[in-house]
Amino acid sequence: MRSVAWLIPVFPLLAFFLIVFFGKRMPRKGHEIGILAIAASLVVALGVFFQQIAHSDQVYERSVTWFRFGDGGRFVELGMHIDGLAAVMFVVVCTVSLLVQIYSTEYMRDDVRYTWYYACLSLFTGSMLNLVIANNLIQMLIGWEGVGVASYLLIGHWFEERANSNAGLKAFITTRIGDVGFMFGIFVLFWAAGSFNIAHITSVVASGGVARGTLTWAAILLFCGAIGKSAQVPLQVWLPDAMAGPTPVSALIHAATMVVAGVYLVARMYGVFHASPAALNEVAIIGAITMVMAAGLALVQDDIKKVLAYSTISQLAYMVAALGVGAYTASVFHIWTHAWFKALLFLGAGSVAHAVHSFSMNDMGGLRKQMPTTFKTYVIGSLALAGIFPLAGFWSKDDIINGAYHSARAGSSVGWFVFLAALLTAFLTAAYVARMVALTFYGKPRYDPEHVHPHESPKAMTIPLVFLAFMAIFSGFLGLPGKLNLFAGWVRFGDVEHSFNLALDAFSTVLALSGLYLGWTIFKLHRVNIDLAKSPLAWFYKLLQRRYYFDDLYFNGIVHPVAGPIARAAYWTNQKILDAVINFAGTATVALGRFVYRDIDQQIIDGGVNGLAQGAGAAGNGLKFWQTGNVQIYAAGLFVGIAVFVGVFLIRG
């Protein structure tokens, strides 16, 4: 099966073209092509997965030369690199994409650009799978940017509204800033290791063939790409705005594609990162800062999708930080579990919004009775996110906390930093989860009962929810403690990690439960009634409301100045300085010609040498053309000039 793994990205990419050209003529407007393609990919992906876990120590790599751009090692391959990491990702991406596409048949039913939507979903999925399968960095970059452009199209899908197209633009540009770093990282590695091939680079690095300083540069530059794509501080600003896209797209972006790409990049290039402690520390610190900051923001959002968006940033930061402290398996395991419960939560939020026609939690409340399936699955997803035993999130989150603890005990201060940040985040996560569930499904209805009649969503939407809820419960059991940890056998870097510590797990569970309790007390039971805006913590509340002022800083400090005054100044320079010099040269020449004609030719020569009227007249006529802009005379002038030059040269030479 692994020999045909290349079909996994090819099916959806092919589907993209088929849908674009033939989708509208199909009976189902093209969604059958998209769904069929991704289902086929999933079949292959499962085959590859089971074959891979049966030979988990073998890496399967095949490639062809795509093209050469010089002699020696200057070529680019198209290839596949299949190991446990890639196999797991195939399954996650294909499954979530399939569910999202099924769900969308209902959710997007009457959309104006239904066919185009399915085309973009296929492009999105195909690009992500290309990124995952790639055995070399250029192919990966192609998938990476393909994901970027597809997300741009999908986030701005309802482009009639300016806010939506702004969000698409913001996502593309923000991530592209990171992408430039990624690209430069590729350059550094290409010149250091002589190839774009990941396995080759890894082996050169492992054999000490690359200087430590170069490696650190390479790793940090690569990580810039991850910061952009995985929405880590300071490039996190695009992700909340990306909620402007259709909700199933958000599920796809947050669970399986796009944002996970950044984490995947670090995991795939872990050989490089691992060889540079400085780079790893940076990864860990960025992750630790991001997880807390984003979790704080999730606490104050009114829009249910924004809660989930910040939650994603925070959870991605877990994965990033885990890689930073060496907890490789734990990080990938968290990709695996998070994909299920986050897709579940997004699709659940979509189901709720389908019923109340709003994403604002101010328009929800008390929905558990009208939407039982959505409610139950949503609660399962929420508890999994909060990391409550024995749901999926518990196992992976605690592996990460354990990894950080292990690193801290080994003497790493960064390890301590990550460890404490992870515990704090566990607490905050549970708190915002409780708040979200309470505001959405409990309490009095806050929607307008005259116009809004909530109802359970159709089967095409609830079946994916049920399946994902199943995964949110059981997918964590792949990472049970000790010998039962199947996942660690499939995906690991070096030795199997320490993954279970009863005391720690108990402690983090207590933290999560107290978070839940706090959120529940405030937002469901209303036992504590505080108005944060008027409390002594008002400044902090304001800080959260303004998203720590990142957006203000970027827009007022960079975007507006560059697109406004700086661009205008550049254009002013162009017109008033560079071009003015040229225009001046032109006018001055004409003036000179006029002077020569009037004052020299007519007055002196013509006046003085009347006898040679014939010749002078011809010259005068010639010069007159300078005033009329006649081309021939310019050409003649050119040849006269040349003649003079040739003469000079002949005399000298």
């Binding site: 050469r68 010089g70 680019v76 633009l169 592209r176 310019y634 050409a635 050119l638 040739v646 030479g653």
Partner: protein, 505 residues
Amino acid sequence: MDFLAHWGLTLSVFLPIVGAALIAFTPKEQEKTIKFLSLAFTFLPLVVGVLLLRVYHIGMTGMQLETNRSWIPSIGARYHVGIDGISLPLLELTLLVTFLCAIYSLKWLPEPHNPKGFLALMLLLETGMAGTFIALDLVLFFIFWELVLVPMYFMIGLWGGPRREYAAIKFFLYTLFGSVFMLLGFLALYFRASPHTFDVLQLQRIGPSLPSGIQNLIFLGMGIGFAIKVPMWPFHTWLPDAHTEAPTVGSVLLAAILLKMGTYGFLRISIPIMPHAARTYAPLIGALAVIAIVYAALNCLAQTDLKRLIAFSSVGHMGFVMLGIATLTQIGVNAAVFGMVAHGVITGMLFFIAGSIHERYHTREIPQLGGMALRLPILGGLLAFTAIASLGLPGLAGFWGEVLALLSSYNPLSALSSHTFRVYMVAGGIGTVLTAGYLLWMIQRVNLGKVPAQWEGKKLVDVQPLEMVAWAPLLLLTLGLGLFPRLIFDVTTHSVIGLTKLLGG
């Protein structure tokens, strides 16, 4: 086949001028005949061009399909033509794009309506452009180079927009100004070479041993001529005016082909003949190139006229080409040739679309447009596709030239400072972000949003079959060169290696 190998190039270059002559003898009223002639005499050279691919040996270094005949013995100028992997793609691009322009002109001709004059000039232009890419004698090169000026001058000056006269004269004089320096350089080479010769290939053997001071001086003179044509910053100010005022076909040819004459001049003449001077000036060229990239992107952000925006974007993209050349490495030069073709295809297409937008909306002011993806979904889709290709999305043609140019600046020729070029690389990287910014912003303002009230109820027709026929090859190449970059690299690489060997790279 033998005939093709010896005279195929000549045929492809001079067939258009024959067509121009035939059109000149056709009465003005017989528009159908004139259009047929223009179509036939751009199609035939293309057929010859395609047949040439069969006799051309891909993977061989050096000139092929050469013809070398005595021409003006008194000054030693010879009719010497030939192609290698660097000129072949450019020649084919010229033949293709002109043919597409002829197709487009079957239906859309600029005002004042005068197909006879316009199409005859277009054919004349083709001979000049194609000839430039095959000439291996400096006098011949110069004549083709200057031949291009006249038809383009009239195209802009007679069929252009409101400020056509200003733009046309500026284009003509500015380029001519550069040509003088270029010609001085040619003559200096001639007199410095012993024996005296205008032959490019002979000069490539003689030139490198010229004293470095002389090399530097000649390189500078020629460089000004080529730099104006590229155009390199700060010699670019003729370009936005020329593009804005030129009729659609003029803009397409200007962007797709004419600009490449400048970069080609560096690759064919200046650099191989004066490698020492090339190494001396490379840091300066690189600096001007990255200034162009960033500066053009900033200027694009300030534009409201769609054509002017695309014109400035050309300055930036040619900056990437020049950056690749400035590294004087295999990868850089290869990237440059790829970038030249890609820019020709993509920006040519963008100018077609801009022309069609103007045709429909009678304005190119970006703030007045909007919602085009709703009103004209196909035209809007093509604009988005081409703009995204232009911003260098991997998998489309615009990517390879730019990414490899940046890759090569990380490690330029060993005689050059890699620190300097890494600074250029970073600046170029910033340029790619700005490029994405202005292109997506343009798409947002032209394509997205609701349809403005002023276009409600107005009759606007989407892309018509003839437009699609004229554009399809460019669109296919945009995708095809992105997915199969070897279409270019297999042809160019060997010649590029030959070139960079002359530089000690």
